[in-house]
Amino acid sequence: MDFADKATPALQVDNLSCIRNDIELFSDLNFTLQSGQVLQIEGSNGCGKTSLLRILCGLMLPADGHVTWNGVDIHKERIQYNNNLTYIGHHNGIKSDLSCEENLQFFKAIGNTKDNINTDDILDQIGLLEKDESLAGKLSAGQRRRLALARLLMTRAPLWILDEPFTALDPKGRELIEGYFDQHCSQGGMIIFTTHHVVKLEHSQIQFLRIGHDKH
């Protein structure tokens, strides 16, 4: 699948500011994201990285400014925007009382996913094939993160917004996700993510955005 053949989708952020508990986390933030670009948000703990990602997803309202997708405010055409978005936050969004297989089946049914997905193939790729019948609650933190990130293999959405995707992953898992990043960007996808790890992509250039008042 190639996203670049469509009219280039672009995320545009204008004069965004965020206030939480009467403290201004960031203000007058402007940037755009074009097809094939990767953006890493940097900043110290508590500087508003997660808040920024939640605003970009439409889960939170900014104190000022707006976010547009293809020129349309994301809150005006919410379903259209959600169709183009995959978000994985701090919480994995997986149910502990469902098996890995059942969790994937649910992602498949509820998201904008590719046709003809074989959940066994996906579990194999993320290294959880032997655990397909195990309840997700019995997995380790790293395995649960892998299961959550399996969504990236199933989605058709061009825009990925990921909050600390590498948390709890072992080096092999990180490599795997970096591989998905590369593949997604080469197909014209876009990624915005936060991490404290050093991420190396072979084919794509990562752009950095530092937020917060502490610039050191």
Binding site: L85, G89, G93, I94, G111
Partner: protein, 225 residues
């Protein structure tokens, strides 16, 4: 509802139902409370026919209402805590459709068992057979309203750490009309009068709640997460 929306609705109903079956204490505890609280009344008041028969509809309705409140937290709490609620809000399906699915499952696992258990409690409280049929009918119309209106309150308080008290304050006043007409219909019926007026009003409340509550719930969830 288009086909794909209906598919998402069905999938969520199936998932929530599976989860409820695997985590039984969430819905059996309120049911147990309903049974225990009702069955204590004959012990406390004494086995006098007339008094128990007179107050039975009120007792059963009040305890059903409290049992429904006890089970409300489970509608969105676990989805909120594990991040599934964010994923549902960001899914490419109308969120209101998904809210309908969650409310339906709540009613199926808490409302239906209440209705089925009520004749047994009617028996304990010396209610005549006619009264039991009326009671089941009022619960059939009333328990969906409890789930629908309750979901608004729980959606507003799901982001709070200790929202239980606030939830009761928000929801109980809205439950009162259902309580009055529900218990009233059984009373009127047992008194030999026609309870259809009460039933029509309960039907109207159900239609109002069915059409508006999921919209309010969806909006409240967006504020809470």
């Amino acid at each position: 509802m288009t086909n794909t929306n209906f598919h998402a609705f069905k999938t969520l109903v199936r998932r929530d139902f599976t989860l409820a079956m695997r985590n039984r204490s969430e819905w059996t505890n309120p049911l147990f409370f309903f049974f225990l609280a009702c069955s204590l009344f004959p012990l406390g008041i004494g086995p006098e026919h007339n008094i128990l028969e007179r107050i039975a509809p009120g007792i059963i309705w009040v305890t059903a209402l409290l049992a429904a409140m006890l089970s409300l937290e489970s509608v969105f709490r676990s989805d909120f805590e594990d991040g599934s609620l964010e994923q549902l809000v960001l899914s490419p399906y109308p969120f209101t459709v998904l809210v309908y699915a969650k409310i339906l499952v709540h009613w199926l696992v808490t409302g239906i068992p209440l209705i089925l258990l009520s004749p047994l409690l009617g028996l304990i409280l010396h209610m005549p057979a006619d009264g039991m049929i009326l009671l089941m009918l009022t619960l059939l119309l009333g328990t969906p309203v409890l789930s629908l209106i309750g979901s608004i309150g729980v959606a507003l308080t799901v982001g709070l750490k200790r929202g239980g008290m606030l939830l009761s304050l928000l929801i109980l006043p809205l439950y009162i009309p259902v309580l009055i007409f529900g218990a009233g219909a059984v009373d009127v019926g047992l008194g030999g009068l026609d309870p259809s007026g009460h039933f029509l009003l309960m039907g109207a409340i159900l239609i109002l709640a069915f059409t508006l509550a999921p919209l309010a719930t969806a909006a409240a969830i967006r504020v809470s997460i």
